[in-house]
């Protein structure tokens, strides 16, 4: 009888450019993959290699950016070229036992003023899903969301965990300008626009928080792995928080 192979969790490295490689941790979105990516990323950030610049977590990948000149000059890294040197380093790091402190992070609360001039598409989302606008607000603000990645524009968080009952297709014609703080739905996803940009998401509300501010120590309010909840606020509270 053949020895049963224990399925190794995926860890495939491919090159992205001369100054970046991508590690694939699997094929499907899930909290397990997210956790593995975050754990590995934490280990990498604690013990980066010479020339390391930054790492970008995404749904099932972690991309590692570096300065090729520093990598090639490094005596500490072994391999025929930059790609090999970085690849071997990452594979070795993967084999090390990772000390993970799985303290359940508290969810960050994002105050949102739903509808009421702040969410021009709230009624459409309700209509498409045969719900009242209050039911849409309740479903949207009762879930705990997970930040899977930051992408698209500075500080834009891709959130997982939205209730399928409020899923709504994108707008047929994108808006020329969605205001900064706009909270939207696109298919099964929800997210917050950090900057005023054109966009096709259904906008159901707006947060007075600055999701991205280059002048702040942590420019983007959210990062991959964070837990997020939305809290409905009134127009008065929105105004007070905007001025605060």
């Amino acid at each position: 009888m053949k020895a049963t192979m224990r399925a190794e969790p995926a860890f495939n490295i491919y090159y992205l450019s001369e100054s970046a490689v991508t590690i694939e941790f699997g094929k499907e979105i899930g909290e397990g993959t997210l956790q593995r990516i975050n754990n590995f990323n934490r280990a990498l950030l604690e013990d980066p290699f010479p020339g390391f610049r930054t790492s970008v977590p995404a749904y099932v990948t972690l991309s590692v950016f570096f300065d090729p000149l520093q990598v090639i000059a490094s005596k500490e890294l072994t391999g025929a070229d930059c790609y090999e040197k970085v690849k071997l380093f990452l594979e070795k790091l993967q084999k090390n036992p990772v000390h993970v402190t799985t303290s359940k992070a508290d969810a960050l609360t994002i105050p949102v003023c739903y509808g009421d001039g702040f969410g021009p598409d709230l009624e459409e989302v309700a209509k498409v899903n045969k719900l009242t606008t209050q039911e849409v607000i309740d479903l949207h603000s009762n879930a705990v969301y997970k930040v899977y990645m930051i992408g698209f524009v500075p500080g834009f968080a891709y959130l997982g965990g939205m209730d399928g009952r409020i899923a709504t297709p994108r707008k047929a014609t994108p808006r020329k300008a969605v205001p900064a703080g706009g909270v939207g739905i696109a298919g099964e996803q929800t997210g917050i626009y950090p900057l005023e940009t054109p966009g096709g998401w259904q906008i159901i509300g707006q947060t007075p928080l600055k999701m991205f501010d280059a002048g702040r120590a942590q420019s983007a309010l959210l990062k991959a792995g964070d837990n997020v909840v939305f809290k409905p606020i009134t127009k008065q509270e929105f105004d007070a928080l905007s001025n605060g």
Binding site: Y14, Y15, L16, S17, E18, S19, A20, T22, I29, R53, T54, S55, V56, P57, A58, Y59, V60, T61, S63, F65, P68, L69, I72, A80, D81, C82, Y83, M149, I150, G151, F152, V153, P154, G155, F156, Y158, L195, T197, F212, A214, S219, A220, K223, A224
Partner: protein, 337 residues
Amino acid sequence: MLYRMDSMRIKIIKPGVLSTIQDMGRHLYLEQAVPVSGAMDTLSARMANMALGNDDTAAVIEFTYAGAQFEAETDLLIAWSGNGAVLAANDKKIAADRPVFIPKGTIVNLNSKPDGSHTYLAVASGWNVPEVLGSRSTYIPAAIGGLQGRALLAGDVLDARANIHPLTKNILKNLKGLDISYPTWSLHREHLLPADKRLIRVMPAHEFTWFDGPSLIGFLSEPYTLSLQSNRMGYHLEGVVINRLVKDELLSTAVAPGTIQVTGNGKMILLMADCQTTGGYPRIAQVAVVDMPLCGQLKPGDTIRFEEISRHEAEMLYIEREKKLSTLKNAVGHKFL
């Protein structure tokens, strides 16, 4: 006698189509989805800085095409490089890729030159704008970097940083006079570039095999034309349609300047300096970083072809280019120190 060093200053009279402050880009905040930005043609930007003894990372002005005009509000030590325009003063061309002394009061024009799109203007020690997230590059969508996060406007005054490199001081001492003056030598930017500037070398990207054979053959042999939808974020390419073999959906993942994505209708987008940090379109290829300066000089209507090289070759070409640049940098030093 001590050399008196006033802060050099220019005033923008006409900003041209799009003029922004750029440097070598913002590389450390990709995980917050802050794009790299930086010069579209990093090689020309570096040449301009190198001619002055500046650091590679000194801020330069990136002009798009011709039409801009500025006034020297003080004596200036500048250098320009690139293919978007030709600098001229009093109807006389100012030579490129070398240090140039320009006396106070001179009006400098960017006259048209048909072969490229971007021109870089460096000043002794670099343009003085605040660093935002580790770079002075302008990224307009988030209004960060450069001059107030925006393109230059008529009336804007830009000054140079005060801390001048000893080499730069020597260059200035050598060239200073009553008229525009520059040395007869120049940095040979051409020697660093391939002869065929419309042949772009690429390495196959991770989803290369997601496309069918005829499409891949077409990609590597047929010409592609930059559409009018081309800007600092990316170029839309028109040509043989790229068909999918594998219809899987790609989960959004990191992309980089030089990534060539294929959209749902089989069109290709070549990502450039201001591109998003992540994308969900499958990627057919990644432009070799040594050929990104060529891409940075393209304009709508230009036709290019792609040639496949290996990842290892691309890396070796990059390291070789950097060695040549460092030799060139030393040569400038030897001329003036």
